[in-house]
Symmetry: C2
Subunit: 444 residues, 2 copies
Amino acid sequence: MPDQSRQLVLNAFLMHAGHHEAAWRHNAQAPADYLPLKHWVEVARTAERGLLDSIFFADVPALQAPDRRPSESLDPTVQLAAIAAVTERIGLIGTASTTVEEPYNLARRFASLDRLSGGRAGWNVVTTGGDVGFNYGINPWPEAPERYRRGDEFVDVVLKLWNGWQDDAVVGDKGTGVWADPTRVHAADHHGEFFDVQGPLTVGRSEQGHPVVVQAGSSGPGIALAAKYAEAVFTAQRTIEEGRDFYSTLKAATLKAGRNPDHLKILPGIVTVLGGTEAEAKAKAEALDDLIVLDHAHEQLARAVGLPIEQVPLDAPLPSAVRAPDETTGSRYQLTLDLARRENLTVRQLLRRLGGGRGHRVFAGTPEQIADQIELWFTTGASDGFNIMPATLPDTLTDFVDGVVPILQQRGLFRTEYTGSTLREHYGLPVPADRSAIADLRVG
Amino acid sequence: MPDQSRQLVLNAFLMHAGHHEAAWRHNAQAPADYLPLKHWVEVARTAERGLLDSIFFADVPALQAPDRRPSESLDPTVQLAAIAAVTERIGLIGTASTTVEEPYNLARRFASLDRLSGGRAGWNVVTTGGDVGFNYGINPWPEAPERYRRGDEFVDVVLKLWNGWQDDAVVGDKGTGVWADPTRVHAADHHGEFFDVQGPLTVGRSEQGHPVVVQAGSSGPGIALAAKYAEAVFTAQRTIEEGRDFYSTLKAATLKAGRNPDHLKILPGIVTVLGGTEAEAKAKAEALDDLIVLDHAHEQLARAVGLPIEQVPLDAPLPSAVRAPDETTGSRYQLTLDLARRENLTVRQLLRRLGGGRGHRVFAGTPEQIADQIELWFTTGASDGFNIMPATLPDTLTDFVDGVVPILQQRGLFRTEYTGSTLREHYGLPVPADRSAIADLRVG
């Protein structure tokens, strides 16, 4: 019997037409249908109908190659705020980069989302590995050690800002005209290597205290940052052995950082393609892969590994000179290269794998088979749940909600109704303390 | 007969419990009711029911004195995105500061709001006069000339980013797998005194091209910036003579800047208090003023003018040493001081005026009387409409929509249904050109 006290976390990681890069060619929708609010309302309501814990948007603040797939991307906090207004319970997690943002602005935006949504927000902390400095006058783009040092301080500032208002700060006494007690609103009073931020924030705490802190890097500095701050980690793990290794490593690091490992949820990504039979699912995955424009992906791969395209022939294994471009951001990429070598894939086969899930595990099968995988990983120390990445939207998410969720419910692994209203309640995370104990930081 | 081709613009400038600083004490609502989404949904839907052109949120990115009035403030783009999801037509204008933001992030956030809302967004450009550098490590806070030089370049960058995607850039050819034509997506390629921003933006143009550019400064540099870029100006004008002076000055400056003056809408603010009779409205205004906590406002005034509080006695006129604290941001303040002197107000009377509308004109009267004012200003060269500032929310807005709008409609001054779906269509503004003519900036 599964441990009923331990909750399976299912997050829907959503991307325009779906995670498969050719999803927009395969889907029934018109190409222009992926950006308007209507698409996201439909998708978010489906996820909420399935009682999923949360939805999640990744983000890179620069235009990616616009020619081959839906390339526009909205600011995640703005997109999630709109979704907040048309949903009731589901968590809302957005990505934002510590390298190109100001802590005060970012803290305020996510706190605003958290307040508007009644405590459903989460911030996925990234340092942005790929150079986007050209949009910000940042040149050269900082190397990983500096990015992570800045990221660490950035999170520290944001937490100070988020926890500044005591939960009892607003008095609201109409008789005396006292709105808030200023001695219960604390400054951040932060003065560090990268930031000087006084505060307080313009936004008080929400029903869940503050937004859930998510982290997505699985490299060395990423693990260190996660162990220190993260309450959920989105990661790419291709095999259950890798998943267990990562799980035990990160939980141990969290314990060593002085935190309760149960308060950090580890959620590997899994790109799902569903079918009524295994053959049907695999045929759909094949059909999607057939729609990948290989010449384009081929050029991108050659550029990424720094080799002339003629030295990376399509129908041969990867040249031995090819390695991940950066020790940090390449961690998912590195896993993919390892897989290519392990399975002796040709470049063509590798490109199909990458197009299907950008390095994440792709699983095509029946609802029963995917439920088996989720149960196996969850019950044998490889994950606390999954970051579900529908290959195509909205149909694969609908398939998951209607096909997989009921099986997990029947097995006693997943909720049959929302028992809480905040993201922390869904994830089983405690409400953090405010800064009321820090007397020397009081203002007013 | 009014000129039917000229459209009266009515924008609702909204602030937590209302513009009157004691509104939260007067209103029926519980103090905690002003920040949740429910309040803003109700207010925005009322404004839309009244066919108003737009709603607007001011913004200062620092906590104002939290003790005497609802002091929390959410990020306007996040708040407006949530409202976008529960409204259909009304414009959505938010304030953001060119002094504490990055152009790429700001351009992206407002473009995201514009896309999600189907072309209903507007950006109110401010340079933020009061020092908020303590939240951003900016010390000293730049003086007005530098702030406006940066602001000018900032708007230039944002416009380049907003117009980068040609309207025909997305091809969406499922057969060939071509999503977008990269030769139709243009970089900003901006390299200036303050910013180096390459682009392109991650977001294409909306149904209205890009968000409407609004400007709120009425000082010298504010007028120059408005003449160059603004499509609407929110201003504080206390008398119709002042209003006509400002109107003709700004329209002339716009013409001189090479633009069509009809494409810049001038909207003075008017704080409204409504009643079934004039006596009832004035009694409500008095009751509100009686709820202002004078000792607190008194302290603030003394601090603002740099005098010890005992040198600013409550029941005497303002000392002659008192002047506006800054030539730029003090413009509204200056108007108020001028009024105090002109009407020989005591400090107590002045504080009641300031508490009622922070320097904006306060008008308490019947719907008929306010409609008369609006018509007079609109038809005699003092404004293109008004920035309606309900003294209390939601009731004063409801009073305006149910009482004043029908009168303006009967007089043929205001729409009886929305004829367009974008903010530009409501305001009667043209869709700006994209950057397709700028061949040398093409990328790809």
